[in-house]
Symmetry: C2
Subunit: 189 residues, 2 copies
DNA sequence: GTCTATAAGCAGATAGAC
DNA sequence: GTCTATCTGCTTATAGAC
């Protein structure tokens, strides 16, 4: 699905516009104009505007699900699992900066696939929470409120798409390392 | 402006709908129906849909600006300033959960007031960054990348509106305390 | 693969009655 | 303060020609 097909070109262009203005504010004419064609021509490659959104969001949600599953079953410490989750978000976000905006802000406009998306998201958060709770009982992670930790780390990772385009000088490995430092170790001297 | 006037009622109802579906996907008819009146009746109290959005966003942006200014000029350590910024976000978000969604996701739909909003936001981030940099040179804050610290803390604080409604059992003071723990001290044991 | 033409409905907003 | 009626333009999507 991640080919250079005409459909994928349309999805890529749409994702860029969706990031700038949101799904609802972008029209089929906007997408067509950005591609240099007429709106009606889009329908030779996609079946509806909804079809575009579904492609963007479900692809990404499954990427995260697959990445989390690999981390979950691996035989490493829970702190190391947190590090790998951070790397997972950095890598996916760098490869899909525009698409991440739709995943974060336009998922509620999904129709047929809304429930499926919500299930993937819930499962992802459950797996994430489990790592934190296990790390806490292992004394790898400091005692505290696991919900606040989960929310705090995940909020930062989900917002990366807003920030990565502005810091193109920072290499992925460097960014992951810095994020791990801040999110895992805090900022206090 | 925060009175129980008809205009304020409209803005409040609109903010709730904007949080659920975003500014562009909510119609004047939606807002009117939620108030039990007809769309044309709204125009006796507001001049346009844009007028509603501007009211929501500029009010909040100025709340944050005023809060930051009070913290900036106060004679306390930089770590203590960070703590107070966290409390500022918790308090404003609890009082304006719906409105925070528009501030985060619909600011790009501002028209006349877009530049003004962007200036307030930039100044806010500059003040925040300055506290981190000063804290670092004072050895209150660990040496590291100040941009990553700023982005990481701010992302969490800006996402609070998504999370606070689900955790109504958690008191504001308790939430601030937990957030300070995680954001300032990290999660590692 | 793209076009023109067009359908059918919905958007924000105004005029004027009550 | 709310209503009905209405305007103008834009929305997603389809049919059929090239």
């Amino acid at each position: 699905m991640k080919q250079g097909t005409r459909k994928q070109q349309i999805v890529n262009v749409a994702a860029r516009l969706f990031k700038e203005r949101g799904y609802s504010a972008v029209t089929m004419r906007d997408i067509a104009t950005a591609m240099g064609i007429k709106a009606s021509s889009l329908y030779n490659h996609i079946s509806s505007k909804q079809d575009i959104l579904t492609n963007i969001i479900i692809f990404l949600a499954e990427e995260f699900t697959n990445g989390m599953e690999a981390i979950r079953v691996s035989n490493i410490s829970n702190i190391e699992k947190l590090n790998q989750i951070i790397e997972l978000h950095v890598n996916i976000t760098i490869q899909n900066t525009f698409e991440m905006a739709s995943l974060n802000n336009d998922w509620m406009h999904l129709e047929e696939r809304l429930e499926y998306y919500l299930k993937l998201r819930d499962d992802y958060e459950d797996n994430f929470r489990e790592i934190i709770v296990e790390g806490m009982s292992n004394n790898e992670i400091v005692n505290g409120n696991p919900e606040v930790m989960l929310f705090s780390i995940l909020s930062t990772l989900r917002s990366l798409y807003l920030w990565i385009p502005k810091k193109e000088d920072l290499k992925p490995e460097e960014l992951s390392k810095n994020l791990i430092n801040v999110l895992i170790n805090g900022v206090k001297a």
